[in-house]
Amino acid sequence: MICRMLMGALLRQRGRVLTITLTMALGASLATAMLNVMMDIGDKVNQELKAYGANLSVVPKSVSLISDLYGASDDGAQENAAPEKYLAEDEIAKLKTIFWAFNIVDFTPYLQISAKVSGPSGTVEAQVWGAWFDKHLDTPTGESVDTGMVRMKSWWDIEGAWPARDDPSGAMIGASLASKLGVKQGDRISVAAGHLGEAVVSGVFHSGGSEDDDLFVPLPLAQEISGLRGLVSKIDVSALTTPENDLARRAAQDPNSLSRHEWDTWYCTAYISSIAYQIEEVISNARAKPVLQVAESEGAILQKTQLLMLLLTVLSLACSALAISNLVTASVMERSAEIGLLEAVGASASEVSFLVLAETMIATLAGGVAGYLAGRGFAQIIGHTVFGSAIAAKGLVPPLVALLVFAVTVAGSLPAIRLLASLRPAEVLHGR
């Protein structure tokens, strides 16, 4: 009978029911979109910012010390070829074995050499970097990773193209060096530093920075020319990080100053300092230097954006609850005689409340489902217009939205139920 009463109420008062459904759908769609974007935005903003470079730089300890002491940049490394001034190339894959391996998004090793570079219009002394352009790597954990400059320098403006994977001589040349040498895409250049090597220009780039005077060649070629086989001078790492807090800053100064418990918390959180610490644990003789300013602003932007979205979600749901409470209260008032009648034939106030709540719940649940689906669409629109990419559907969102719909319904029905409890059938049935 309850079912028949609910069916009757829902099907034969479609207007009223649809208004409630629509109100809930609106709130739920906003909540879904905001929650989805909010949960995905962490990755999105990080990826956006990652495009502007690495946030960790791994260098040999000795080099790090010298540059820390004298504030000098490390150059001319190959003249004094002591191995402790370099990192071992075969250790790079270990980056993917640390606790926060999944937060390490991209990385590229560089071997820096000074060399004489010759092209059609002459020879110049220039910085030459051996690097990974587009590298496929099988990690010790059995994963395969594709990384390299293609991913980390994605904002470079390029005439031509990045060298193909496994091209042994393809090179990227900075625009100002290219004009000094009079080379363009497809031209041959020679590089001399101890040994002589040959490269073919695959692309000319504008980075807007000092790199425009440099030449980038495949790492094996640079190692051959310089005689530094299996060595690299630094590794740039792009990692997804948790915003820094007080604990992270203290740890960055001295991890040993933390209590056991604090240390565990810090180690198991993706702070840039703990990721750096973990990188130093796996790569021998290395110092991982966070590029802190970038990491911090990333975290701040992220937190503010997420706060804004949370606020919007709360607001939209509060509006839904208010609107629903108005609709349900109006409906109870309008039907006060019917409610009095139900009580007159023996229904208790709680039974009638249940009926009203169930009726509202069915309407809002339908609205919740419709709103969720629409919200998924909104999230995609936001993703494409704001972040230029799709927003992943987060598994946590449907149960969360269901819970919110439930809460909004109960909150929205509360005033109506209180009104209902105060209705006196003796009065409403005689039109008072």
Partner: protein, 221 residues
């Protein structure tokens, strides 16, 4: 034994004495009419008898059971078991069919039984309109659905507050015919009415005035 005893009932709303020291006994199977000018306390009295309200003072005995000290939920239970209510404004649930409106009373009383509900509609001559919504029925038909609903749980006491007040003469005739039949079957009926013709049918007419019983007319056939 009397089915109903009112002893020194008073009902006071603020400064209004809606009922003022009223005592009344109604016998099993009796048909009683209550008349009186508007505001004389007829509805107030019906609410008290029908367990919808509790008097300010005095005691009510329904089948020997004292009502005045009971909680609202116990009153609801007694109303459900013993009383059938009929109202001037019908009060059907707009989104349920005639049949479902009758079944609602079954549901809150005990168990639904569609055949029995159909039987009740048949007794008031509305079997064919069972699947109609209230707005598809005329006023008289709606009142007959209300009567079917009031009868469905075999109440000991039928209370009707101006049941024909909103009906034309033809429908009034049909409703009175149903009351006559119910009375013949042994039901106790209390009808509030303005209409002397309706009151004439009862065995006893009680006149209320300013919350007091002004006169009682016995019309033993």
């Amino acid at each position: 034994m009397n089915i109903l005893e009112l002893k020194n009932i008073s009902m006071i709303y603020g400064s209004v004495r809606a009922l003022d020291d009223v005592s009344l006994s109604v016998g099993q199977g009796e048909w009683l009419a209550i008349m009186g000018p508007s505001g004389s306390g007829k509805t107030t009295m019906m609410n008290i008898i029908g367990c919808m309200d509790r008097p300010t003072a005095g005691s009510v005995l329904l089948e020997g059971e004292e009502l005045s000290g009971l909680s609202p939920s116990s009153l609801t239970a007694i109303r459900r078991e013993k009383v059938g209510l009929i109202f001037q404004q019908f009060h059907l649930i707009s989104y349920l069919t005639a049949l479902e409106n009758v079944m609602v009373a079954q549901y809150y009383h005990s168990m639904i039984d569609e055949r029995e509900a159909l039987g009740a509609l048949e007794r008031v001559g509305l079997k064919e309109r069972a699947k109609h919504l209230p707005r598809q029925l005329s006023g008289g038909e709606q009142q007959r659905v209300c009567i079917a609903r009031a009868l469905i749980n075999y109440p000991r006491l039928i209370l009707a507050d101006e049941p024909t007040g909103n009906l034309d003469e033809a429908n009034e005739g049909i409703v009175m015919e149903i009351f006559r039949r119910l009375h013949g079957e042994g039901s106790t009926i209390i009808v509030v009415t303005h209409d002397p013709e309706v009151a004439e049918e009862a065995q006893r007419i009680v006149f209320l005035e300013h919350g007091r019983i002004a006169n009682v007319v016995r019309r033993d056939a």
